[in-house]
Symmetry: C2
Subunit: 206 residues, 2 copies
DNA sequence: TTTTTTATTAATCATTTGTTTAATTCATCT
DNA sequence: AGATGAATTAAACAAATGATTAATAAAAAA
């Protein structure tokens, strides 16, 4: 029984999109060839244009969906009204690290293709203003109460994301430098789930 | 009067290499076309193959040189015998941030193309083991003396690089999110030169 | 069932792209 | 000046690549 998670798209369209997403994530737009997408999804080459008009259009659809998923998951945690700042840090850290263990190509892809076309980013970023999130509000509160040092919030947010995301972006380097196996790297990232919130707190606590 | 900084290469070769490096850094291997390199460097298309055999060979040369420069500058600071750990942090932060302000495409390029072919990384990484650097030794000393918390050194090094490099990799996102101009972003990064060393110290200090 | 619409296919087209060739210019040496 | 080798050029080639077409099969509507 099929769950109609995406009723907008037919089976064939989903097959194409899945294969395309996988390839685009791994190799980027230019290095991914339409024939490769067709082969990987077991469809005829012409169906790609039949359903998606062009490679570029297909790419843009995938780009927007991927970006949307990515940012939505972020903002969920940041805007939770019930959790404290420290809890948010723990949840963020844990959630994103899991997310990127599952899809290791995601951060590089987002960062890369956004460099070429930041306009798609704006389309998605409507209700997802991290800088106006509950997390930032809680940090500012802490500053006012004299609990936290005053840093510009953009640095605060940047630091959190840096410590979480950068290791994944640079994973090939870390793996080579440390002569790790893939599982060792995952192990290392799992350890960071607990460490990163502590580090962030130490950075801001008076 | 020409300074024979690179006597190995003729004028034409240098023109080609410069244009190619610029394009490869900006757009990656696949998206950069040989005709574009020829046009940008004002040389005939055939000269590219005449001097460098193939696009791929040219790319590999540029890749290795860029990587070499990048890592050399890193290790210089890390292995300075005269400076303290805290001084090294300040120097690192300041030096790399300047470097990436000058060449904003560098980190994304390195990270990207290394993902596809980490072998070139190993060729370069001979004498440049960051993990066996003076910096790490000094940190370990500090731990023994009870000054610093004990974290695995790989996390220590990863954190430094994360806080320095990630903002540049994600600069299009930061710029859009904060509605910054390019100069505002540079301003922000210049502020981080002083902040990052402090943050790192707070993270490790007991 | 018949008709009409939709989905799929193989073949082909028109560019693009990396590379090569063969001719020409330029510089160097005798 | 003339000969030799390197540097440069315009033209062309072959393969790859994104896209289209026209024919066929499958599904839906009548």
């Amino acid at each position: 029984m099929n769950i109609p998670s995406d009723t907008k798209y037919s089976d064939t369209e989903i097959k194409i999109k899945n294969a395309a997403k996988c390839l685009f994530l791994k190799k980027g737009f230019s290095a991914t060839k339409t024939r490769e997408i067709a082969k990987e999804s077991n469809i005829n080459l012409a169906l790609l244009n039949y359903y998606f008009t062009s490679k570029r259009k297909l790419f843009e659809i995938i780009m927007l969906e991927t970006l949307h998923d990515f940012l939505s998951k972020m903002v969920e945690v940041y805007n939770d009204e019930k959790t404290t700042l420290e809890e948010k840090l723990k949840l963020t850290s844990s959630k994103y690290i899991d997310m990127m263990i599952a899809e290791p190509h995601l951060p590089t892809f987002v960062v890369n293709e956004l460099k070429n076309d930041p306009s798609s980013f704006l389309k998605i970023l409507k209700g997802k203003m991290i800088m106006k999130s509950k997390l930032v509000a809680q940090y500012n509160d802490g500053v006012k109460k004299g609990l936290y040092k005053k840093i510009e919030p953009i640095h605060f947010v940047t630091n959190i994301l840096s410590l979480i995301v950068f290791p994944f972006i640079s994973s090939p380097i870390i793996i080579k430098m440390q002569k790790l196996g893939k599982n060792d790297f995952i192990e290392m990232m799992n350890k960071r789930k607990k460490l990163i919130p502590k580090w962030i707190i130490q950075m801001i606590k008076k």
